[in-house]
């Protein structure tokens, strides 16, 4: 079973994404802020990270950059943020994000993107 880490400070959205992905058959780990997310990443192996950009303690950009600097370079990262300005998107991709979705988003689209990112990881 593929393990996905979802880092999102909005509990409603976090739970909704988790429920939606669980129904697709993934194992979900939840983090309410960047610090918690990094802590989980230190101890747990995940197949995909879905992260928000603006979170308390450590923001999404920092999470991506730390993750890419460490050994887990192959973990795909999907950014999910309301900050869809061009600068934010480009910065996320420069730091090593694999995909970017702007809020409000469709859960169906999210599931498709997750499936695709996980498939690409297997190919790589």
């Amino acid at each position: 079973m593929k393990r996905i880490l979802v880092a999102e400070d909005n509990k409603l959205i976090l739970e909704t994404i988790a429920l939606s992905l669980k129904r697709e058959g993934y194992e979900i780990i939840k983090a309410l802020d960047g610090k918690e997310c990094l802590k989980i990443l230190e101890n747990t192996e995940v197949d995909l990270l879905i992260t928000d950009l603006y979170m308390p303690c450590v923001n999404g950009h920092e999470v991506i950059s730390i993750l890419r600097d460490e050994r887990k370079k192959n973990t795909p990262i999907l950014v999910l943020s309301a900050a869809g300005a061009e600068a934010n998107v480009l910065k996320a991709f420069e730091l090593g994000a694999d995909d970017f979705m702007v809020k409000p988003f469709s859960l169906v689209e999210l599931n498709v993107r997750v499936r695709k990112l996980l498939a690409l990881r297997i190919i790589n």
Partner: protein
Amino acid sequence: MKAVKFTTGKLITYILCLICAIDLAFPIESHGIQHFVIQVAASKTPIDIQQFSKRYKITDSIIELKTADRYRYVIGNFETLRAADQFARQFAIRTGISGIFPRKLDENLEIAVSEQKKYPDKQSQKPLVIARTIDSIPLKIENTKINNQNINNGKKELKNQRNKNTNFIFRFLGTNNVYEFKNDLIVYGNKHFSLYFRKFYIRIIEKTYSYPIIALFILLIFFFIFNVILILLILYFTNYYKNKRDRYIRIYRNLYEEVLRSYLFDEIDWKKTTLKLKKIRKPLNRKILISVLFNFQDNLRGEMDNRIPEIFVKLELNKDARNKAKSSFYYNQIEGMRELTNLYPQGAFAVVKHFINAPNDLVRADAQTSYIRLHPDKPFDFFKTLTSPFTRWTQITAFYLFRLHELQVPSFVDYLHSEQTNVRNFCLRMIIYFQQLENATEIFKLLKSPVETTRFLCIKAINELWLFDGKELIKNIYPEETEKNKLEIIKALKNIGNADDFDFLESIIFSGFVTLKIEACRSLYFMNDESRERLIQLRQNAELEIDKYIDHITDSRN
């Protein structure tokens, strides 16, 4: 939770209550009283006080004292014989009444001053720790009480003296100063206040001087401590209720989120959902529900677009929103309108239309932005019926919404005939921004507008959209234009000008202001090679100092 307001009115009421409480808690003691009045008349039969006052033009209030043998009429309220005597003299001169003299009054008995002459000056200058008010002087005086009262007075005098000696505050301030100040206050009250208020005023002063001053300080300290405790209690309870409310909101938010999520993912049906949604009839819970739905709506799209309005209607939250929109308070109107626009667009059209010309700027602005969101095909059609101003803030919001939702760009020329100047200006800005070249003649018509900004935007549009047909028109209006618009016309000629305009620009260089000259030089320099040649030829005229202008306009910093 609502904040507790502490207004001036409440403060005054509070102080008055405190005074009353002190009055009740510490009633005036009857011992040790020394009180001087001025006797202005005496008679075996009662006299008409009003007539008497009128006859001698007496403004002070006269008090009738019924003694064993006659009626005595007195005025004033003095602590010392000296003060009473002084007043009596002044009073005699002022009114012309002869035979008036000061009298000393004790608690239940009046004693003629002549009887006290055995120890006159020292006695009169002694500080009075306890005094009485005029209105508490008994009307009927009995001679039998004389001896007992004298004994009591002597004892109390000694006690007062002891109190005085032990009171360090008196020693520190100086007793004379303290009592002189008191007398001044009483004299001031006698002179300036009406009888009704004077009674109250003198009572307060006397009460203040009735207790040892240390007691007042202690009272003040207690009052201060009481206030501190009161504030701490208010803070504690405010915080307690806020936390309680926050906890309540958190619990129900989590519950509603979970239930609605289950419903949205088809884990439970609607019947079960309504059963699980507890206390949804309470106004606060309905607010929580709305905020949860807003959160869903803000973050989720696609399949949720129809499900969320469906829940909103099923829970009859649309009725609440409509009621809010009907409210007479502008913030409720805005709240209702926003809820309907975001969560139940079908029900929002009529409400939004109703508020498009609302007199309140905030309501109107919200209605206008809501209209843009609700009508993506014709977002600015409300301009046709707009009779109220389209504020600058709404213009910015509208533009932001327009870009954010990538709405279809309408032809802004259609709205150039609006009654509102700010609508016309907004449309001109949008025409420039979106480079809408169609129907340029409509833009030219606005060159005759009496509003300077509108004409400026028209010239700018002609310049930026390269509307060559408008060149002659702007040249024609140049002499009557303002400095700002003249500058814009010269700038326009840089883009749309040709050899025909050289003379026009030259005339400006010869006779215009410096800023206009610089701009005319710039237009000639950058228009084309031919115009640049023409400008260089002008260098021969040393008076014009063209070299300086060319240096200025070719400097990259300008």
